[in-house]
Symmetry: C2
Subunit: 145 residues, 2 copies
């Protein structure tokens, strides 16, 4: 049998209009103290709507489902279709109240399970001068306001 690892949801994404928060489940709230001293965090989510055999067997996509983007290996994209449908977001921490971390608006659906949060540490997480291919730059321009 193939080796697998088991993860438990530690929280959930909540969206209301323009505001968003990470709601940590009560049994994990004790893991929060100290996070308020950081300005930003990583939020790791489980793309639960992509947790199907077919989507997890997908290894090539047109990024963002846009046929103008070249067929690309999923590991070179942030597509939810991938062997383990993990999402990685980076966001500003606006406030932490009880079990809710108020963050910037986030691209994840309301109700998306959260599997981990980590502090953003510029020394290891912030890369200046990282480069990306043309299709990423073009997508950015086309989605600019």
């Amino acid at each position: 049998m193939e080796e697998t690892f088991h993860m438990v949801p530690v929280g959930v994404i909540r969206r209301e209009g323009e505001s968003a928060s990470v709601e940590i489940h009560e049994k994990f709230v004790e893991g929060l103290p100290g996070l308020e001293e950081f300005s930003h965090l990583h939020v790791l989510c489980w793309f639960h709507e992509s947790d199907s055999k077919v989507k997890r067997a997908t290894l090539r996509v047109h990024p963002r489902g846009d046929r103008n983007n070249p067929i690309t290996g999923v590991f070179a994209t942030r597509s939810p279709r991938r062997p383990n449908p993990l999402a990685l977001y980076t966001s500003r921490i606006h406030a932490i109240r009880d079990n809710r971390i108020e963050i910037d608006s986030i691209d994840a659906l309301d109700g998306t399970p959260v599997i981990d949060i980590k502090p953003y540490i510029p020394e290891s997480d912030s890369i200046s001068g990282a480069t990306v291919p043309g299709w990423v730059r073009r997508n950015r321009e086309s989605s600019a306001p």
Copy 2:
């Protein structure tokens, strides 16, 4: 029964002396094309040596096991002891040869399972001016060469 999510290893960390690589398992190699156009990537690993009931029940630690660092919630640290022992690394891509991504040296043990890789996209991943608490700054200074 508590909800759980299942992940499969897609690769493994290989370290030899000062060099390191991510070796992608053959069945997932088709997901790589396009990654060579990025300068940096995120590597998500499973801290397999922390995948125990006791370690996964840990919600407070002295970061880096150093009693000079204040007791902190695990979600405010990068400790391997956490409910889901996920590790997040960011690294330069030196070269991709077949199923091997040659990267900068990495803090993970040889043989650590890799569960996902993602391209580093500065627009969303690089935060300028992110701030951290004093204990993180002090740790950085004390580990400087």
